[in-house]
């Protein structure tokens, strides 16, 4: 069982969260001519890192906020958690 520290609620069990995927993917800017390749990168292509991975989770059965987590995809160790509007440094 993963234990995730929600930046709003503190340490909670994985059961309360749902997953939202790679947190580093950026939506192409609106109002600009966007190439098929850029859309493809946004919608489909992923780095799928083995190791430290920034990802989105939602505290669905808690405060319902989206948060960012840095987790090792090989060991499941969690290093950092951020609020959704905090930039990954």
């Amino acid at each position: 069982m993963l234990h995730i520290k929600c930046p709003h609620c503190g340490m909670r069990s994985q059961n309360e969260f749902s997953y939202g995927g790679d947190a580093t993917v950026k939506r192409p800017e609106l109002g600009k001519e966007i190439s098929d390749q850029d859309w493809n990168n946004f919608v489909y292509n992923r780095k799928s890192l083995r190791g430290k991975h920034w990802e989105l989770w939602q505290h669905l059965s808690g405060c319902r906020q989206w948060i960012k987590i840095q987790r090792d995809t090989a060991t499941h160790e969690i290093f950092k958690t951020l609020k959704a509007n905090e930039e990954i440094s």
Binding site: N40, N45, R46, R50, H53
Partner: protein
């Protein structure tokens, strides 16, 4: 090369052996659960991905609990069985849940990947069309739809279309 693929984790589990009760594979379509009985009598069960990127080759209990709840809803006698073992393997989850069997822009490099949960049962057709693709250096009619370029052009397949984002279903 960046691919429309993420690595995820799938668990399966096996119960203690019991007398013959099931001579078929049974799946629970309203959720995601499947079960069969091995020749030794063990019930072999599985279902959903753990649901987050993972290379760990080991799973967590919340997903097993979710999967087995579906099993017990369908076959209540399962609740009496002891679990013998569980294991987890990593899956090359394509973004639309269908595989890619194709040439690439690099000469001599061919792709046969993104098999998700189903790369075992598909082996005869996958191997045959892949051998054709390599030997002739062009795709066969049967795997033409399973191109890498479908993600670029939007020519998606008439299949379930459920890749890594299994929580959408």
């Amino acid at each position: 090369m960046t691919l429309p693929i993420e690595t995820h984790l799938l668990q399966a589990c096996v119960s203690e052996p019991v007398k013959p009760v099931l001579d078929n594979v049974v799946t629970f379509g309203a959720g995601h659960f499947y079960i069969s009985q091995s020749d030794k009598g063990e019930m072999v069960m599985g279902g959903d991905l753990d649901g987050y990127n993972s290379y760990a080759q080991r799973g967590n209990l919340p997903t097993l609990q979710h999967v087995l709840t579906e099993g017990i809803a369908m076959m209540p006698f399962l609740s009496k069985l002891k679990m013998l073992r569980t294991w987890g393997g990593i899956m090359d989850m394509s973004m639309d849940g269908s595989p890619i069997i194709d040439k690439t822009h690099i000469e001599g490099l061919y792709l046969n990947c993104g098999w998700c949960y189903g790369g075992f049962k598909a082996t005869p057709a996958s191997g045959w069309t892949f051998a054709h693709t390599i030997a002739q250096d062009r795709v066969h009619d049967l795997n033409a739809g399973y191109s890498l370029n479908r993600f670029n052009t939007g020519h998606l397949l008439d299949e379930k279309g459920l890749g890594t984002k299994t929580w959408i279903s």
